[in-house]
Amino acid sequence: MTTTTKPVNQKAWFLILPVFICVAFSAILPLMTVVNYSVQDIISPERRVFVGTEWFAKVMRDGDLHAALWRQLTYSFAVLAIEIPLGIALALSMPATGWKSSAVLVIVALSLLIPWNVVGTIWQIYGRADIGLLGAALKGLGFDYNYTGNATHAWITVLVMDVWHWTPLVALLGYAGLRSIPDAYYQAARIDGASKFAVFRYIQLPKMRGVLMIAVLLRFMDSFMIYTEPFVLTGGGPGNATTFLSQYLTQKAVGQFDLGPAAAFSLIYFLIILLLCFVLYNWMQRVGTADKEVVS
């Protein structure tokens, strides 16, 4: 949002109001409940004791939580490191016009439209060495592949599944960014005799900056909150190898019914995402502006 030239108009608040009410009903009220729980020990609905920051201290010292957090961070950064470059490459290689572009667009988007638990279910069979295509193929190539027993295999399978599932989002956004570049830019580059890499580096990449920022943020948020796919595929196992934060939280909240600690955990979880998104957002904004100075 660039605000430099916008007229000041406080009545604009009335236009925001519907959104505010909707989100307040479905976000602020629940969030208040979470905050409320996080400082109480709920023995039964009638018996509650104020415990202050005790749950927060307890959660912060939880070794399993630290392990889940590290697993989550490694996973999210692996997701970004693979999906962003792959998505950009895909966007660059998709045809620009004609029926081919429509067909490729729809094929690429297909995996986004599959409900998350179906994604998990497909890969559950797909990866089985006895009856699944991927598993059988890997076995045929001589790998001793077994995602249910081997922690590393399980982790990589979840990652590959995510790449398959979500790279299209990056590709679609990048593709949209590319299509908006006027032909004049390419013509100018041709006259200058710019190399393909120079065209990418100084024209295409800066022009994709805005949409790529959305892509990076969305992918980061969503991979950090991943729940359904690994839950269906591996159930968090073997052992704890693919138990990410959301699943750990759900185990605590629903499984053990520890409302207080679960609420404290929720808040810490939320703050971590918020902090990381804020850092990413500001970092990308800086990188983007530095780029612009080089170009102009």
Binding site: M1, V23, A27, L31, G132, T250, L274
Partner: protein, 265 residues
Amino acid sequence: MKKRHIFLAAYIVFALLPIYWMVNMSFKTNQEIVSSFTIFPQHFTFANYLTIFTDRSWYSGYINSLIYVAINTVISVSVALPAAYAFSRYSFLGDKHIFFWLLTNRMTPPAVFLLPFFQLYSTVGLMDTHLAVALAHLVFNVPLAVWILEGFMSGIPREIDETAYIDGYSFPRFFVTIFLPLIKAGVGVAAFFCFMFSWVELLLARTLTSVNAKPIVATMTRTVSASGMDWATLAAAGVLTIVPGAVVIWFVRHYIAKGFAMGRV
């Protein structure tokens, strides 16, 4: 063949193989799926699809899902439109903070909201209704819709608004008759994304429903746990869940390419 063609072809194979495997499974019998590895169905059968179309507990899942996804998409886009307009046209007290605050809701893991939602909707008596799921999904769809629409609107020059006001248009009339047609593409893209994220979400949809509004995603998980592993029906149901989304994307495919970039780049 250029390098990029080979790369694209390789990716398409990578993208389609798992989907092919599901389609393949949906035409097999359970026995064949579990006992042997076959590239093509040996005993080709439509029985799995027939089960879904004739069993009420299956097909009502699709209807329930479509209902709450439709309600959610309509609410999300219609509340997001005026808000996105305000963000793209005016500056006002706390505008940037509100914008970022909206985005933070997109960052909240649904797992965090699970229990509070359960209690909130129980209290107001909305449990197991389509409206409950539709409202719950607003948390992540409204911010996204505002975000997308704001991008589109910023691409429309402000002179258009000013000219319309000078010509004597009132704000509502200007918005509906002049502005809305200009950002049609944006509405299409925003609606597509709302549809998609609401359609594929499982955790909240499953928690907030039990019988009357049970979505197809939940029907699938429960069938698995109840009657052992009915892989074949599950695969057929999975294939059918792709269909509505594929139809929607076919209609907005031109906008997707054009639209996202306007104003955002």
